[in-house]
């Protein structure tokens, strides 16, 4: 079968799973007064449509920041504005100032889900296809298999189409950035990544590798001459993009400060809820949240993040090739996730370990189905297309058993939070293992079986 037909089948399967998951509940459905992320997104449409730009991030009579105040960078706000215009056309009640709080209806849900699908098709899916086509090693069947696995990845599907978010936009833009760098279009790549950063500040997790890779490349070309010009062009692209995104907020110095304050809420503490990172897991043994002062917490998290990210970044700086770049991305995001401040569990986007959140949203069934399907599919394809990795077969029943335990057993009354905490700790141990493993791989560069591409 021809490549294009195989790729289109993958896309269609991905789209079908996405839309089928969207039939289920969303975060905060039917739960006044605060509801959930779905209501937050709707509220942002209401705020951006009805209020002037300088009021979006401020606490005013018309904008109560305690009720889902905007806490993403300006691009999210502009996206909400565009959606709000469409919403107004379809049904003005959806974005009525104040009156539309907590608005829930079947048609509104369809509209919101449709906006996610639209941006997914526009930004994320083409990026995935191009990535698999150009940057996957192996013959075409392997590329198609990779595309299928990525498109069926449950974490993104469940969070975007279940819980309700727009991660596909920021991840898609970041992927375009990676594509740009891979194809040698550094300016395009920088532009795309800057846009991603201006959509969700979570993309900071990936920023250091981008920076180190580009800087390293420029240094290699010679800082006196071509390299310097390249660096200047990249910096200019980044600065201009930032300026354009933040333009409405640059008139008054208070504006950008307030936006930054909303984006990085250091006041909220080291962590919230159950997150599979170091601080939450450590808190089980030593109550660091209460033991240490906020300044100490900030310093500790900053120091440890830096410590874990430095080796990988320095290696990339010295050897700016694509393979190093990809590994650095993994290591950097893991380091930030494990050690930084105020991390949310969604930041990891790894299906098996967001179970508590998804159960709360009423998404147990799609979670089970998509995760099982993904695990089965990826292990099946992995074993068919490469050498079998026996330990992986043991992983599958282990995960099934742990999921089953969480769902069906009642925790003992003394420790009502036992299972979410156990899940978090288990996940944390996995991630710790991953970050050590991937750092070792990046730093030591063991013999690679696949032939290196020229672009590397």
């Amino acid at each position: 079968m021809e490549n294009w037909s195989l790729f289109s089948l993958c896309v269609l399967l991905g789209l079908t799973s996405r839309w089928a998951v969207s039939f289920h509940s969303y975060s905060g459905a039917g739960k006044p007064p605060m509801f959930g992320d779905y209501e937050a997104q709707r509220h942002w449409q209401e705020v951006t449509y009805n209020l002037p730009v300088h009021e979006w991030y401020f606490n005013t009579t018309n904008n109560d920041l305690n009720y889902w105040g905007l806490d993403y960078p300006p691009l999210t706000a502009y996206h909400s504005l565009v959606c709000a215009y469409v919403a107004k056309l379809l049904n003005p009640e959806w974005v009525e100032l104040h009156a539309s709080r907590g608005y829930e209806s079947h048609s509104h849900k369809l509209f919101m889900r449709a906006t996610v699908l639209f941006t997914d098709i526009l930004i994320y899916i083409p990026a995935v296809l191009l990535y698999c086509f150009y940057f996957c090693d192996g013959f075409s069947k392997q590329k198609v298999a990779t595309a299928l696995c990525i498109l069926l990845y449950p974490g993104l599907i469940l969070i975007d189409y279940g819980h309700f978010q727009y991660n596909s936009v920021s991840l898609g833009l970041a992927l375009w950035g990676i594509l740009g760098l891979g194809l040698g279009w550094d300016l395009f790549g920088s532009l795309a990544f800057t846009l991603a950063l201006n959509y969700k500040q979570m993309e900071l997790y990936h920023s250091l590798p981008f920076f180190c890779y580009l800087l390293g490349k420029c240094i290699k070309q010679g800082l006196i001459g071509r390299g310097f010009f390249q660096l200047a062009k990249i910096s200019l692209t980044v600065l201009v993009t930032f300026a354009l995104c933040w333009m409405p907020f640059l008139s008054d110095p208070k504006q950008p400060l307030q936006v930054l304050h909303r984006l990085f809420p250091f006041g909220r503490g080291l962590f919230e809820d159950k997150v599979a990172n170091t601080w939450c897991s450590l808190n089980v043994l030593i109550k660091i949240k209460t033991l240490l002062s906020r300044e100490t917490q900030l310093f500790l998290s900053f120091a440890l993040t830096l410590l874990f990210i430095l080796p990988s970044s320095l290696k990339l700086l010295s050897k700016p090739n694509l393979w190093q770049f990809k590994l650095a991305l993994v290591n950097s995001s893991l380091a930030f996730f494990l050690f930084s401040f105020q991390v949310h569990e969604k930041s990891i986007l790894l299906a098996a370990f967001m179970l508590p959140l998804l159960v709360k949203d009423g998404l147990l069934l799609p979670y089970v189905v998509t995760s099982l399907a993904f695990l089965f599919l990826s292990l099946y394809l992995l074993s068919h297309l490469t050498r079998t990795n026996e330990p992986l077969f043991w992983y599958f029943p282990f995960l099934v058993i742990s999921v089953a335990t969480f769902v069906w057993l009642e925790p003992p009354a003394k420790f009502p939070d036992l299972f979410p905490v156990l899940v978090s700790i288990l996940s944390f141990l996995h991630f710790l293992g991953f970050i050590i493993y991937f750092n070792l791989v990046q730093l030591m560069e063991p013999q690679r079986k696949k032939s290196q591409k020229k672009t590397n």
Partner: protein
């Protein structure tokens, strides 16, 4: 490794269809994959057929057998043969563990989450019969060793059957048990192809006792219905001739074309003052669920007339096959023609009945070029004709994605299978099929925004039905021609 870990490994490998030793693993992967998809669709829209089956669960569970065909609390009376009623009875015993309330007859339209979960799961699990039947059918195909997996006829057939668009949306969204029933049919066919005729005949009688519209296949097997002296009542429920010539949405058969011709003539007649508008019968042909109506210009059609037409349409095929049996392939071809014939000319045909022709035709499609071309025409057209079944906005993307999925796969895989010998479809056929795209855009997107939506709401349905009827008729004629003109090819028969 210890014994337990070894055992566990074997279990995991079988369940996961581990690669190296077992090269049938792709079958299980496909079956599991489609089951996962069906699970994701549990929350989708379901039609009144859901309540129909819930009602049957309730009445078979709560009432004695003698009352089953007399119970009429709900409007959805039992209108399938007794064996299916027993199947519902068996299911009802499992239903107790999900939600006892669904088994209470007066609980009309009861649809708690547990009820939905149970009923949906019962369809998904019952499909195991279908999986087994497909596996058996694959055994009847000739295999080319050493071919790439995606190009193997058995792989293509498995996808065409397991992932059939019509079956997916009718069974797992609209809600029915066709997978299970078609499983029995395909198994019967497979047994005949494997020369295990007694089993084939037995399975066929089982099928008749499960769904009586398989009576159109009755020429091939004997059936036996035994009911405890309630024959007239059962028959009256099974064959409700009080319903009209067409369903509320016209199945794309001959009568759809007949209806449109009648309407066209009456409009022309009124325009040219040949007919008096006051004398025309006012019955609307698509209003309401079931309607008897009369034609204005052309003669009205009675149930007897449709029966005669159906018999006339399939007699030549039967005669040909009796005169010159052509082995398994000839048998299958005749089967498909009988199914299509009764679809084309039958009384109160549901558009879903086209599946009865498409599924067996899939077996022929992976075997010969000409049949592949006819299959593509028929499957794309009839799958599109199922679109009106899912009329909710929420299901619109699903039906489009799944339709594209199946169409692209069948086109690409059959094209690769028969790459030698030119294109499978001629330009006219391609144009007709491409015409479905603007048709969909008009009916689903453009028309609802126009002012005619209020005055002529049935127009898109009529357009769909008539357009598809052309394609189905064309496929029927081509299939007939291929049956009547094929020479005795017993030497070249690929299916043993």
């Amino acid at each position: 490794m210890s014994a337990t870990s070894h055992l566990l490994k074997v279990v995991i490998q079988t369940v996961m269809a581990a690669p190296m030793t077992n090269d049938q693993s792709w079958f299980y992967a496909l079956a599991l994959g489609v089951s996962f998809l069906k699970c994701l669709l549990i929350n989708a829209y379901h039609s009144t057929d859901f309540e129909v089956h819930r009602n049957w669960l309730a009445l078979t569970h709560s009432l004695p057998v003698s009352q089953w065909y007399y119970e009429a609390t709900s409007e959805w009376t039992l209108d399938y043969p007794p064996l299916f009623a027993w199947f519902e009875y068996g299911l009802s015993h499992i239903a107790c563990f999900f939600d006892k309330e669904m088994l209470v007859v007066p609980n009309l339209n009861y649809a708690s989450p547990a009820t939905v979960l149970f009923q949906r799961l019962s369809v998904i699990v019952a499909d195991v019969v279908f999986f087994y039947a497909v596996k058996e059918c694959c055994k009847c195909l000739r295999e080319d060793k050493g071919k790439d997996l995606l190009g193997k006829p058995s792989f293509i057939l498995t996808v065409l059957l397991l992932w059939n668009f019509g079956l997916l949306i009718v069974d797992h969204i609209h809600f029915q048990y066709n997978g299970f029933l078609f499983g029995v049919l395909l198994l019967s066919i497979a047994r005949h192809c494997q020369n295990r005729h007694f089993e084939g005949a037995f399975l066929f009688s089982v099928l008749l006792n499960l769904k009586h519209n398989c009576i159109r296949f009755i020429d091939k097997s004997r059936s036996s219905l035994f009911i405890k002296g309630q024959l007239p009542q059962v028959l009256s429920r099974l064959f409700p001739f009080k319903r009209g010539l067409c369903h509320a949405y016209w199945a794309p058969n001959i009568w759809a074309l007949y209806n449109i011709a009648d309407k066209a003539f009456s409009i022309l007649g009124v325009k040219f003052r040949l007919l008096d508008i006051n004398k025309l019968p006012k019955a609307s042909m698509t209003g309401g669920l079931v309607q008897e109506f009369q034609h204005s210009v052309l003669p009205s059609v009675s149930p007897l007339a449709t029966l005669v037409c159906t018999l006339l349409s399939i007699l030549p095929a039967l005669f040909k096959i009796w005169h010159r049996p052509n082995g398994a392939r000839g048998f299958l071809r005749c089967l498909v023609i009988c199914a299509l014939g009764s679809f084309m000319f039958g009384w109160h045909v549901h558009e879903k009945a086209i599946l009865m022709a498409i599924l067996p035709l899939s077996l022929l499609a992976v075997d010969s070029r000409k049949d592949a071309g006819i299959f593509l025409m028929l499957s794309v057209t009839s799958h599109y004709s199922l679109f009106p079944l899912l009329f909710t906005t929420q299901e619109l993307p699903i039906k489009i994605f799944l339709m594209l999925l199946f169409t692209i796969f069948s086109l690409a895989s059959l094209k690769t299978l028969f790459r030698k010998g030119g294109a499978l479809l001629n330009p006219l056929e391609v144009t007709y099929l491409l015409g479905l795209i603007p048709l969909e855009l008009i009916c689903e997107f453009v028309y609802p925004l126009t002012v005619w939506q209020k005055t002529f709401p049935f127009l898109p349905l009529m357009l769909t039905s008539v357009y598809c009827a052309l394609g189905v008729t064309y496929a029927f004629i081509r299939l007939y021609i291929s049956l009547l003109t094929c020479s005795d090819t017993t030497k070249k028969t690929k299916m043993q």
